[in-house]
């Protein structure tokens, strides 16, 4: 342990601790904009500077490590002044469209200005060029970027994708794909983790709220909504509730208040996925153990960010992917076929909205494969954050809503479906069904949780020994089924390197694109709660355990769906509606012509405020030029005045900088 003093308070900290963490442990918070504990510390914003006795200049506390006898000051007048100047310098190159920014009042940069007590912006000068780029999933608005590089760290180190990197230098710097390529054309997986860490409105999910409101308001459309499992333990955070609070009933109620005609649950789609994926796994296993061609390991396909990753990075390994669509597209396909017939409605009149913890789901529904009979399975995807925005704008008092149920038949689900929202959940849900199909007995784990794959480790593995199987599966007697689970694309790469090398020891692998799974997806609320992962995880397991039915194959409406319509899992009808194929894309997207740039209308909409302001400025300056021929004297006078003010400002700036650097 190291003894030091922070703000005259003697404290101890473990060796190697940074000053910012040591201070935090003792209740002192140091302002910062780029720092992310354990993930990102490059000292780019400099706001976390502290004074250390004996040090020549202030130190970035996110980088400087404590030492014995160190005397640290975090809140001196000098520091406050420097921080304000730093903030104002950043602000001088920041788009001022706060009112029309999606991050208004939810912006770390804005909050920092308030925290630092900045009440003016004195610096005017060169500004970065204005650049907006929208893919179907993620929008980049570089006029708002403060160059903290969190996105770069998340994209490169955490996800190992490397789609974003600082390009150019100085005022031209932007976080972008190579050669300013549009995100929609680059090998971006659309996982959206960058949109979670972006402190400002520079990286965000491409917004679909308006599209959904228009559908709800259209009397000729029947709007059907569904919600993913991970949303129900996170949405509450947007309304001030504790992370992990289960708000399933309130969501169903809110959907009805918003005006949706039918309120279903992606959980039903998850149960359906287990039936299809479990059956597919069994048939692959059967093939492999009966000397027929069967590709193993089989890898789950629910996570579109993961799918896009593998299509880019391992285009020759796509046979390992389960052919199952993801739960919400399965449900969409069922809604526009089975349910449409049931209620006697033309599928083209149905508008399906999926509320997802995910930005990549916006890309998924844009895939040409995700349609049947010419109709997209799902018409719009909104993220958890967008749903919160819509509920608020509809004036719904979410916190005080009484719980309601989803509509039937596509709203009933088992506990197995809820855990689709966390790492290991899809695997556990599949095993609950597959094991029982093979042996006729329940999965031999307490509360049905496959203990070795529960938790937040990057790669988890387990082996399940099959003993005394049913006669149909006699060939599996004594076989150890090896499974692996990973979340986050860096882990996925490790697993795929094994698969590619042909030495993967596993039969069945679950991969989710975001670290910890969908509950920490790119569309989820941005949380500052250190324990958010465990809280959401706990919420989902609680939801699972609270349900009377825990295994997908026990869902009575799933059985009914097969009886009335689909026939059998992996049958002809299922293949047509619920299964898909994949596209070889390549690391430079060179193997396909497919791109996912948002359509021009969307981009135009996003460009509004700042563009209007820029053009207004240009118009004014043009007007001034045009008028310049007239009263020359007046112009010279005003120019004189302008120069005087500029000089005064410059002198003031010099004074400030002098005092900053001399003190």
């Amino acid at each position: 342990m190291v003894n030091l003093t922070i703000n005259d308070q003697p404290v101890t900290a473990e060796e190697g601790t940074t000053i910012i963490e040591a201070a935090r442990q003792h209740g002192i918070s140091i302002p910062n904009l780029c720092y992310m504990k354990d993930v990102h510390k490059i000292g780019s914003c400099r706001l976390c500077i502290v004074e250390v006795d004996g040090a020549r200049a202030p130190l970035a506390s996110c980088l400087a490590v404590v030492s014995e006898g160190m005397v640290v000051h975090t809140n001196t007048e000098k520091l406050r002044r420097i921080r304000r100047v730093l903030f104002e310098l950043m602000y001088s190159d920041h788009s001022e469209d706060c009112l029309s920014c999606t991050r208004n009042q939810n912006c770390e940069f804005q909050a920092m200005g308030k925290l630092l007590g900045v009440d003016s912006s004195r610096f005017e000068g060169e500004r970065s060029s204005y650049h907006v780029d929208a893919s179907v999933s993620v929008t980049r608005d570089m006029s708002k970027c403060i160059l903290c590089r969190r996105c770069v760290t998340v994209c490169n180190q955490i996800q190992g994708v490397g789609a974003l990197f600082p390009q150019h230098r100085g005022f031209d710097t932007e976080m972008a794909p190579a050669m300013e390529m549009q995100l929609g054309k680059a090998a971006c997986t659309f996982c959206g983790q960058c949109t979670i860490v972006c402190p400002v409105g520079a990286l965000k999910a491409t917004n679909s709220e308006q599209k959904v409101w228009e559908a709800i308001g259209n009397p000729n459309k029947i709007t059907i909504v569904q919600v993913a499992p991970a949303v129900r333990v996170a949405l509450g955070e947007e309304f001030g509730m504790e992370a992990g609070t289960i708000v399933t009933g309130k969501i169903a109620a809110a959907f009805r208040r918003m005006g949706f005609d039918h309120v279903f649950d992606t959980d039903f789609g998850a149960d359906l996925t287990i039936m299809e994926e479990g059956t597919e796994f069994l048939s692959r296993i059967r093939g492999a153990f009966n000397n027929r061609n069967a590709v193993l390991p089989m890898i789950t396909s629910c996570s579109p960010g993961w799918i896009k990753f593998v299509e880019h990075m391992y285009p020759d390994q796509l046979d390992h992917l389960s052919t199952c669509k993801s739960p919400h597209t399965m449900l969409g396909a069922v809604i526009k076929s089975y349910y449409a017939e049931k209620i006697g409605v033309f599928p083209g009149d149905i508008f399906v909205v999926s509320v997802m913890p995910c930005t990549a789901k916006k890309f998924e529904i844009a895939r040409p494969e995700m349609q049947n009979g010419g109709y997209p399975n799902v018409d719009a995807v909104i993220t958890t954050r967008e749903l919160a925005g819509m509920i608020k704008s509809a004036g719904i008092d979410f916190v005080n809503l009484h719980d309601e149920e989803f509509d039937n038949p596509l709203g009933l689900s088992t506990g197995a479906a809820d855990i689709f929202g966390l790492t290991g959940g899809v695997m556990e849900a599949a095993l609950r069904t597959v094991y029982e199909l093979i042996t006729g007995r329940e999965l031999p784990f307490e509360k049905l949780h496959v203990t070795p794959i529960v938790g937040l480790d990057q790669i988890k593995e387990a082996a399940l020994k099959i003993e005394n199987p049913l006669p149909d599966y006699a060939y599996l007697d004594g076989v150890e089924v090896k499974i692996a689970v990973t979340s986050g694309l860096a882990g996925a790469r490790k697993i795929m390197e094994q698969v590619k090398a042909g030495n993967s020891p596993y039969h069945f692998i679950e991969i989710m694109g975001c670290p910890s799974g969908c509950m920490m997806g790119g569309g989820q609320p941005r949380s500052h709660d250190q324990d958010v992962r465990t809280k959401r995880l706990h919420g989902l397991y609680t939801e699972d355990e609270g349900k009377p039915l825990r295994k997908s194959h026990e869902n009575p409406y799933i059985k009914l769906l097969y009886d009335e319509y689909l026939g059998e899992p992996n049958g002809h009808k299922s293949h047509e509606l619920l299964h898909t194929h994949y596209v070889q894309r390549g690391i430079f997207n060179q193997l396909t012509d497919e791109t996912f740039v948002a359509d021009a209308k969307v981009i135009a909409k996003i460009k509004t405020a700042a563009a209007i302001r820029d053009s207004a400025k240009a118009a004014i300056s043009k007007l001034r030029q045009d008028e310049s021929a007239s009263p020359k004297v007046f112009e010279l006078e005003s120019e004189n005045r302008r120069l005087k003010t500029e000089l005064a400002d410059a002198l003031e700036t010099v004074d400030i900088l002098k005092s900053v650097f001399n003190k």
Binding site: N156, V161, G162, A163, L164, F165, P166, Q167, H168, R169, A176, P177, A178, M179, A186, A187, I587, F588, Q590
Partner: protein, 165 residues
């Protein structure tokens, strides 16, 4: 001077040869941390400039994300993604050269060569750039053509200097 090879990319056989040479360079640096800049530097020498296809080749061979390669290429003004002239003129715009008339030289060259900063003359002979201090402040204003430094340049000297190329 062969204008064709300067204005266009290399002909096919030369191009293949160039990629082979780049592959050799990468082999040389394989496994060494922080060798991307060296590889890019040598690749530019081989290929003449660093278009997307060369960056992709390097990214693929070195197993580095393309965005990272492009980030480094676009950060350093020495790297170019456009075809370059046979010779590169760099006028120093460091403080000493600037105050002693570097700007005038730039303006003169712009009209004389008929290109903007960063541009290449239509005959493919010269690429015209500015440099941030080449370390020849005592000789200000200074100018470089390829690796040769010209000291105390003035407008009257420029014609004679360019004639040499």
């Amino acid at each position: 001077m062969n204008t064709e090879s300067a204005t266009n990319t290399c002909p096919v056989s030369e191009r293949e040869n160039a990629f082979e040479q780049i592959a050799n360079v990468i082999d040389l640096y394989k496994g060494k941390e922080g060798s991307l800049i060296q590889v890019l530097h040598l690749s530019q020498k081989i290929y003449g400039f660093l278009p997307l296809e060369v960056q992709e080749f390097i990214a693929n061979e070195m197993d580095i994300p393309l965005a990272t390669v492009s980030g480094v290429v676009s950060f350093y003004s020495f790297f170019s993604t456009e075809p370059r002239g046979e010779h590169t003129i760099r006028v120093c715009m460091g403080t000493a050269c600037y105050v002693r008339g570097g700007k005038k030289i730039v303006e003169h060259l712009q009209t004389h060569l008929g290109v903007d900063l960063g541009g290449t003359t239509t005959d493919g002979k010269f690429t015209f750039e500015i440099a941030r201090c080449i370390g020849a402040c005592a000789l200000a204003p200074a100018m470089m053509i390829d690796d040769t430094v010209y000291k105390q340049v003035n407008i009257n000297k420029i014609g004679r200097i360019l004639e040499k190329y």
